[in-house]
């Protein structure tokens, strides 16, 4: 599974970075690298067995905190 995942990441990364690298589109390159690294780091972290928090739990905590702040 880890091998397939690495293969997918490297393949997609190479396929996506080719065009902006060739045409020297700086902005595209920066956005691609940032988003790609974010996705890759989440994937690798999860494959390593580290449990990340659920999105909706974080959203719920944020909304509750914001509502409490606005009431206070």
């Amino acid at each position: 599974m880890l091998f397939l995942e690495m293969l997918l990441l490297i393949g997609l990364g190479w396929y996506g970075i080719r065009e902006p690298l060739k045409k020297k589109w700086k902005r595209d390159l920066i956005v691609f690298i940032v988003l790609y690294l974010l996705a890759a780091s989440i994937l690798v972290t999860r494959t390593a067995g580290i449990q990340l928090p659920y999105l909706m739990d974080m959203v719920e905590a944020f909304v509750k905190g914001a509502l409490r702040l606005s009431i206070d």
Binding site: G16, D28, F32, A39, Y54, L55
Partner: protein, 368 residues
């Protein structure tokens, strides 16, 4: 997609908006928690209350006919604040996309293929959505006629098959719930469900006939909500008070179908409904996400953006909600407030700010 020049007609916009709301299959589980058997009535009341608000989206579209929501923010709020608000919108689009993606993949894993990783369903679904959105708004619009027809056809078939199980007394007494529960249900329905139609502010620049937008959105929202009202009526008519203890009342209602004592468990109809409707909704959400990111960062490469915006949700598959009941709880507790903020408050603030700026510019111009 970033250079999407395709056009959609008023009729296609109407069907897309109807299909978008048809896909809100979580609205009944969310609303039934407080409203019980009055869910269908409160859906009707919410529709009547929300329809005038659609004028806010129509007016924004009229004031900025060639701009999507991200571009409108920059024009209205200026460079830095506009980009900040647009970035918030993009994060919300991603969250909404993840939430709606969890529905079909979670359902398949929970009810049919328990041992298969959720990522497999999510990836297959995402690739389909990617294909639809990549080909532009017109492709998604052309698919909407099928999604709309299949949705209503399936519901009519289910209604006919369940007619013998209907009990009119299940609907009475009506509105026998505390007023605060009526208000909370209406807020959930409007905040999480109906006002999600704001996403069409990303598609309005693609509409060819600008004078049809108001009628298309009004009729589309009504048809989409009517679909869910029918689902509510079916669920209540068959289940009655049992609806209160069901996390997926429509599924349970459909399980009551018996065809000549040979076929029961015709939930496959529900699965078909789920896939057709959520496919279109997710395509529109993904299209909005990619076009929004392209507009915000002024990107030129479509391929790179498509890859990263598919990879990111894929990496988060299975991390959206811990379980189906938690999905409904999150929808009730947190997404409603986020929805009210992003779907209604921000667009209204944008409209007011735009109107004030225009009037100030006009006065300044007249003075000069």
């Amino acid at each position: 997609m970033l250079s999407d020049k395709s056009k959609i007609s008023g009729m296609q916009l109407m069907l897309m908006s109807a299909c978008f709301l048809q896909a809100a299959l979580t609205v009944i589980p969310l609303a039934v928690f407080a409203s019980g058997r009055d869910v269908w009535l409160l859906l009707t009341i919410s529709l009547a209350l929300f329809l005038p608000f659609v004028l806010v989206y129509v007016k924004l579209g009229e004031m900025f006919p060639q701009s999507n929501l991200i571009q409108i923010n920059e024009k209205v709020f200026g460079g830095l604040l506009g980009k900040g608000i647009s970035a918030l919108y993009l994060m919300y689009f991603l969250l909404d996309y993840m939430y709606n993606l969890a529905m079909p993949s979670g359902y398949m894993r929970t009810h049919f293929m328990i041992m298969t990783p959720e990522a497999i369903f999510a990836l297959s679904f995402m690739l389909l959505v990617l294909w639809a959105a990549k080909n532009g708004a017109a492709t998604i619009a052309r698919l909407s006629i099928f999604s709309f027809s299949i949705g209503y056809l399936l519901v009519v078939i289910i209604l006919l098959l369940l007619i013998e199980k209907f009990r009119p007394n299940h609907f009475f007494p009506m509105l026998d719930i505390p007023f605060r529960k009526i208000v909370s249900t209406v807020v959930i329905i409007i905040g999480k469900f109906l006002s999600e139609i704001f996403i069409f502010l990303m598609l309005l620049p693609r509409v060819e006939e600008k004078n049809c937008v108001k009628k298309a959105l009004f009729v589309g929202v009504s048809l989409g909500c009517l679909f869910n009202i029918i689902l509510g009526v079916i669920s209540v008519g068959v289940l009655g008070n049992f609806i209160l203890v069901q996390s997926a009342p429509f599924n349970v209602a459909v399980r009551q179908i018996e065809l000549m004592n040979i076929n029961s468990r015709i939930e496959i109809l529900v699965v078909l409904l789920l896939f057709f409707s959520t496919f279109l909704k997710n395509s529109i959400l993904f299209y909005a996400l990619v076009v929004g990111a392209g507009s915000l960062f002024r990107l030129r490469s479509q391929k790179a953006l498509l890859i990263t915006l598919t990879l990111l949700p894929l990496s988060l598959v299975g991390l959206t909600v811990s379980s189906n009941p938690m999905q409904y709880q999150s929808g009730r507790n947190s997404l409603v407030f986020l929805g009210l903020f992003f779907h209604m408050l921000l667009p209204l603030a944008t409209l007011i700010t735009a109107a004030v700026r225009r009037s100030a510019e006009k006065q300044g111009g007249d003075g000069a």
